[in-house]
Structures are given as C-alpha cells and as structure tokens.
Amino acid sequence: MSRIPWPPILGFGAIVLLAVLAPVLPLPDPVTMDVAHRLAGPSLAHWLGQDEFGRDVLTRLLWGARVSLSVAFAASAIACVAGVALGVAGGFLRGIVEILALRSIDVLLCFPPLLLALLVVTLAGPGAATLVPVLALVYLPGFTRVAYAGVLTARSQDYVEAMRVLGAGKGRIMLRTILPNIGGPVLVQFSLSAAAAVVLESGLSFLGLGVVPPAPSWGLMIGAARATMTQAPLLLLWPCAALTLTILAMNALCDGLRDAVDPHPAYRPPGRRWLDRLTPGLLPATRAVLDLRGLTVRIDTPDGHFEPVRDVTLHIDAGETLALVGESGSGKSLTSLAISGLLPGAARVVAGSARLDGTDLLALPEEALRRLRGGAMAMIFQDPSSSLNPVHRVGEQIAEAIRAHRPKAPAATEAITLLKRVGIPDPAARARAFPHELSGGMRQRVMIAIAIANAPRLLIADEPTTALDVTIQAQVLDLLADLKRERGLALLFVTHSLPVVAEIADRVAVMYAGEIVEQGATAEVFARPLHPYTAALLRSAPDEEGPPPEGIPGVVPPPFDLPKGCVFAPRCVHRAPACDAARPKLATLPDGRQTSCLRWREL
C-alpha cells in the first residue's frame, strides 16, 4: 500500500477540527440575531461580516461544517454497515438471500438519488433527523455492490476454499478472511459516499428541504444569500467557498485512498530514446533479413531503472526460422516487441540496432516504422482471442491490414483469398464472422492471414501456439512452416516450448534472464548443449523415451537484482569461482555456435 498524499489529509483534518471545536471557540452564537447590523461587512468583531439577520457569518460557517459533516458521516456510516452486511450476506449465503439483496439494490437504483431523497422527505418531512436515513438509503447500494463483488472474488480464492475444506464455519470464514479483504474498497466507497452526502445535504438544504432554519447549514446560507446577492456578494461567496473547498479536500482524499488501495503503480513517462548507431556501422554487413546487434531494453520505474534485455545479438536469413527460447521473464517477448517498435510505455531501447534488409528499425521515426509494420515485417501474438478486436468482423480486420499498406488493393476479396490460404473452410462466410464466433485455432489462422497479407520479409511469431491445444498447435505450426517455405520468410519464433522448437526451428537462441546464453543449429544444440542452462532446460522437458524430466533448482533472478557474474551461476551445478567474478561474454566457436558459459570445454 502506498502513502496517501498529505495535503488533502491536512486540509480535511483542519476542516474537521474546526467543525468539532466550533462550540468551544470564542465565537458569537450562531443563531443570535442583530438586525440593526444586517448585511454588515467584515469587522474586528465579525471577521467575515454579518448575514441578513445580523448573525456572525464565520460562526455560521463553522457550525454549518459541523452539521454537514455529522450528517454526511452518520449517513455514510449507516449505509456502510447496512450495505456491507447486505452485500456480504448476499454473496456468502447465496440462494434466496442473494437474490433478495441484489434485486432490492436494483430497485433502489431505479430512483435517481435526489428523487429518492425528495420522496422520503415528502413522507417524513424535512430536518436533519430525516436527512440521515435518507442519505443512508441513497448510498446503501454502492456499499452492497462493493461488498458483494469483494465476497465473490474472495470466495473463489484458494485460501478461502482451504478454510472451507478444513471445516471452518461460514461465520468464521466471513470474519477472518472476507471482511479484511474488502476493507480497502469499502473505505474508498465510504469516502466517496461522505463527499457525495455533503453535496446532497447542502443541495436539499438549499431547496429548503434539508436542514431546517435557523440551524446553520451551507446550503441554507447560499440559498438565503441569493436574495441579497447585489448588496452583499461576499455573503454568497463564503459558503460557496467553504463548500467547494471541503468537497475538493474530500475528493482528493478519496483519490488518495483509491490510489493507496489500488495495487497498480503510478505511471512515469519514459525519457528520450537514445540510440547507438555507431557500433553496427563498424561491422561488416551480412545478407541477413534481420540483423539484431547489442539490443538493450530499459524499464523505468519510480524506484530507478533496470534492463530486462541486455546486449542481444542475433540474425535470421531468408527462408530461415530462428527460435528464441526461454522461461517466462527471460526477455524473449520484449526482444521481439523491441524489434517491431511496439514496446509497452515504460520500456525503451537504450542501445543496439535492428537492421531489416539493411534499414535500422531502432533508428527509424515512428511513421517510417509504421509503414514497415504489417508490410515488410509482420507479427503474430500469443493470445488470438484478445489480439483480434472483438467489435469488428474478421474479414474487415484482415482488409484493414491490406488497406494500411496498399490503399487501392481489392482488400475484401484479398481477405477471403488469405482466409482460404490459411486453411479456413468457407472463407467468404467466415470473413463476416466476429472473432468470438470462431474457435481459438481459427482465430490464430486469422492472425496469420493478417500477418501475411502484405507478403512480409520477416515474420515475428510471439508464442503463437501457446494458447492453443496440442492438435491445433501442430496444424498452426505446419501452416507457418509451409508459408515460410512458400514465401522465403525469415521467421523469428518466440516460445518457451522445446518440442515446438525442435519441430519448427532451423536455429535456436536460448535466452536466460535477459541475455542470450547459447545459440546454434537446432539439431546440434539439442544433441550437445554448450551451456548448463540449455542442458538443464532440455532435461526439464518431458520426453516419451528418455528419462523422466528434471526441474531446474532455484528461480530466474529478477532483472533488478542480477548476480554480478554469470546470470545462471546461482542455479548452476558446474559453478566455479570464475563464474561469479565477472559477467561472461557470448563466445563464438569455430563452427559458428555461441555460448556464454566459461567452462563449455570442460563440460
């Protein structure tokens, strides 16, 4: 939980303090009239002047705060207790209680709040005593909803299930696990209700349907001052200012509370992107479609920065598939996103070059990069169900890719041809389908159709089969392999699955904790790994004929807390003192293979 900023706490605290202390402060009585000095301006005895009955304005402001805040807090407290009880009971007991709780809330929500308040005031008559239950009724549904949602979330949590299995009673589970969990959102709801209640109370009082004169209330004061607006405009401004400042402070407090309860960290805009264009120019150019050198990605956080991808160098030739393989968090997806210029906001490239047919993608302005994306360089992402826009038809989404690069092309017809090419039966009809009307495998085929729409040179596939089941996986891999052969694509295949690598990749680059630790032809790497991490990874993959899989002891070090030496050393069984001394560089062997292990010869 982060801290709540102090200005709103201080401001609101001061208002509450003044309201509480109003009776003991050396102030005139709030209801004593002095008609001889009506509408008198500010004086030593009356700092803010006197109102239309000669009463002291400052006193009435402070007493008004007292009335407003106590009504708002009392109402919110009642709404909170009753609403949470209703929500928890509904969410926890289920059945008829749940239906009753939710439906009664729905009915309450059929009345606009002010209308509901007016209806009750009609029946019960105005006055502070009516206001409290009225406002409580108005704000009750909010608490019920928050509590109900919280209970639904909490009851599905493993530890609540566990307590139930252990035989804990419902009441005990409710008290011990669920109530503390919904505390944050309920607190936020409370602050929102209290702030809204101050507004509603003053509004009703302004209409003469809330607090009854001569009791002081900001709404009443504003209403009364309207009549003397021309003679004494200040009289109108004071309560307006008091009301606005109070609500501002309360709103700021609400925002602060909400941020404190919300686990998402605050956003910081990234700094300027700095590119080193010098190093690649000094090296001889290759014929590779993609030539990535020294790529380093940095993420800025409020507590400093770290580099989840460091000094990554790889290349892919035409008609070749390179698999970039590694565990979650190894930086393989960030690498592929950096190449396409689609890094999320907080991440940026700080060093390296990525040449696509000789053009450095990392040095291109966004507009030029955009023309390449979906054109010469295409992407397929992991989850086809979230990667397609749910509100547009799939044919239209393919056509959009075509039109973005070839505005004059017959996009709709081409889209159907593409759907046919990726193996979708009845393509003309399927083009009119929405993504949710297709299966997962079909959706990924649509994504592939989008990717190949403009005959790309480079296809980046980021875990394209992970979200699919095994048989569909095989079909999609076959399709990608066919397309690669047919069109001479360079395919960068990002995955964590070794069986998939074996099936599709010509060469493989193994990534660990943001670095490439080994690179080489797939068959050779699988047969004779030159890095202990690759070896451990291969042993951890299940194989029908070989020995049972072994796990790798330990975990991937977090990118902000890397070891000084070899990044794999803490988990490595072959660790030597030299491994911890300094970070080893990726070494290229005579046969073209690469490893960053210092001891590869011995092992």
């Binding site: 606009p112 709040p113 607006m229 606005t244 501002l248 994306r373 749910p390 959009e400 973005a404």
Partner: protein, 311 residues
C-alpha cells in the same frame, strides 16, 4: 432477439416493482394516510379523495392505482384538482431539453478532451484538464449556477438571471435562457465524461488488439478512432446515460436556481405542498424514464459490442 425480449421483460418488471413501492411508501407511512394528509397542512385536500383513502381496502386501491397507471392516468393534484398527467406532460419536455443540451455540451467537450489527455498522458494539457475536471466535480451544481448568475447576470449583465420563454415565441431568447442552466449542468457532466474517456482510452490502449492494429501498420489516427475510441466509448456511453438518468431528478437544483419551469420545479412545489398524487406521478414518470434509459443503454451496448448479443 431473445436477448432483447429478456431485457425488455426485466425493465417492465422493474417498473412494476417501482410503482408498487411508491404506492406502498405512501400507504405504509404510520397512521391513516388521510389523517396524515390533513395533519400535515399543505393544501386542503379534496374530501372525495380523503373518503377514497379511508374507505377502500388497500389491495383495491393498489389494483386501482396500477390499473389507472396502465392507462396513463396519474390522478388529480390535491392543490388545484388539475390532472397530474397534463402538468407533467407540459413540463417534462423542458427538463429533457435541459438534460439533452447539457449532455451534448458534455460530450462535445469531455470526450475529445479525455481522448487527447489520454494520448498525451502526463502532458501540460493532461494535467490542466485533469485539474479543471477535479474542480468542476467539487463545486455543487447549485453553487455553479448561483455564481454564474452573480457574474454573468448581475455583474456583467450579459444574460438574464433566469426564466423561460417557449421556443415558438422567441427562439433566440429561448436558447439564451437555456444556455446558462445547460452550461451549469454540462460542466460537471463534462468533467465526468473527461475522466471516464481518459481512463477508458488509457485502458484500451493497452489491449492486445490495439497492439495488433499497430502491428498491421495502421496509421495512428485510425488506430485511435477505429480500435481505441470505438471500444473505449462503451463504458463512457453507459456512464453518460446513467448520469442523464440521475439528472432526470437531479435538475431540481438548477431549475430552481434559474427559475426554469421544468418537471423538477413542480416536484419541489409538490413536496412542499405535500401533494401526494403529484409527487407520486412525478416520481413514477422519472423512474420509468430512468429504467427506459437503462434499457436503451443495454440495447446500444448490444449494437456496439457484438459479444453482448449472444449472452
């Protein structure tokens, strides 16, 4: 279309429940409703009505009131015996006009401002707009209205302090008189629209399908309009509609400040005079509109998001 029928069915059921609750609320107040009416002062009630309230069994009265409601008969005012329905029909369009004008203002200002603020997050524009929105949300409508009257009507004398002229009588003056209350309501609503749009756009910009659109090489403006704003608008439209519903009863304060003879003003005078038939009539009409508006939102949602139509 089963989805649509179900939604309409739920809405009708809600209206029935609301009507029943309003009826019960009047009759379950402790004591004899007739005596209550007399003892609370206000207008002197029609003896026939009092007799009805006393003599009929409650269930008969309930059935009777529902039956009359089905025929759009809301009874007669206790104050001047005029049909409640007629007065509501005369005033409702004025309130709706006010709400629609405010909503148009809010949409025109809030949605573009929210989109720009989201795309330039952390910029000077974002910060200033966010601060202004926070301020507009903190000032209650009747304070805004009163201050606008003081500045523009009393000091600068640009506009009249309030009142109403039918559009047919004097279109220019009608719009002039409409502008101040519409701006008063629109200001807070625009702040809500701004915040919602900004949050929704920021949220949608992180979606995978927006990344796909960018990966296709679609131009940024087109990505924003077709993929981001189109989806982001769904929650914004919902919130707008819900706020418009709240405004149906919430224009009371503004109508009062600007002397705008809408439905809410009638409600206040009815509440003050304890004119039960009138209060019940207005509450029912507004609640029914509110439910209908929610229904409209759901249908609109179905049109915007094809996934909803399935469920």
């Amino acid at each position: 279309m089963a989805w649509l029928l179900r939604r309409v069915g739920i809405s009708l059921a809600l209206i029935w429940v609301v009507a029943s609750i309003v009826f019960l609320a009047i009759h379950l107040v402790p004591g004899d409703p007739a005596e209550l009416l007399l003892s609370q002062g206000g207008a002197s009630p029609d003896p026939a009505i009092v007799a009805d309230l006393r003599d009929q069994p409650i269930l008969v009265q309930y059935a009777d009131s529902l039956w009359r409601l089905l025929h759009f008969d809301l009874g007669h005012s206790m104050q001047d015996d005029s049909p409640v329905g007629d007065e509501i029909a005369r005033r409702l369009p004025r309130t709706l006009e006010l709400i629609v004008a405010a909503a148009i203002l809010a949409v025109v200002v809030g949605i573009p401002a929210g989109t720009v603020a989201a795309t330039r997050r952390g910029s000077v524009f974002d910060r200033i707009a966010g601060w202004l929105a926070g301020l507009s949300l903190a000032v209650p409508v009747f304070v805004v209205g009163t201050l606008l009257v003081m500045v523009f009507a009393q000091w600068l004398r640009w506009v009249p302090a309030g009142g109403y002229v039918a559009f047919a009588t004097d279109p220019a003056r009608h719009l002039l008189l409409l502008s101040m209350p519409a701006i008063t309501i629109g200001l807070g609503l625009a702040a809500v629209m701004f915040r919602m749009t900004r949050a929704a756009v920021l949220d949608v910009m992180l979606k995978d399908y927006v990344r796909t659109a960018r990966a296709k090489g679609v131009a940024p403006r087109r990505v924003l309009v077709r993929h981001v704003v189109r989806t982001a608008l769904m929650p914004v439209v919902t919130v707008l509609a819900l706020h418009m519903g709240t405004l149906l009863g919430g224009t009371v304060l503004v109508e009062y400040v600007f002397n705008w003879p809408g439905l809410s003003g009638l409600l206040v005078s009815a509440v003050n005079g304890r004119d039960y038939p009138e209060v019940v009539g207005i509450v029912l009409v507004i609640s029914i509109l509110f439910v209908a508006l929610n229904l409209a939102v759901d249908i609109l949602y179905g049109l915007l998001d094809p996934r909803v139509r399935r469920g």
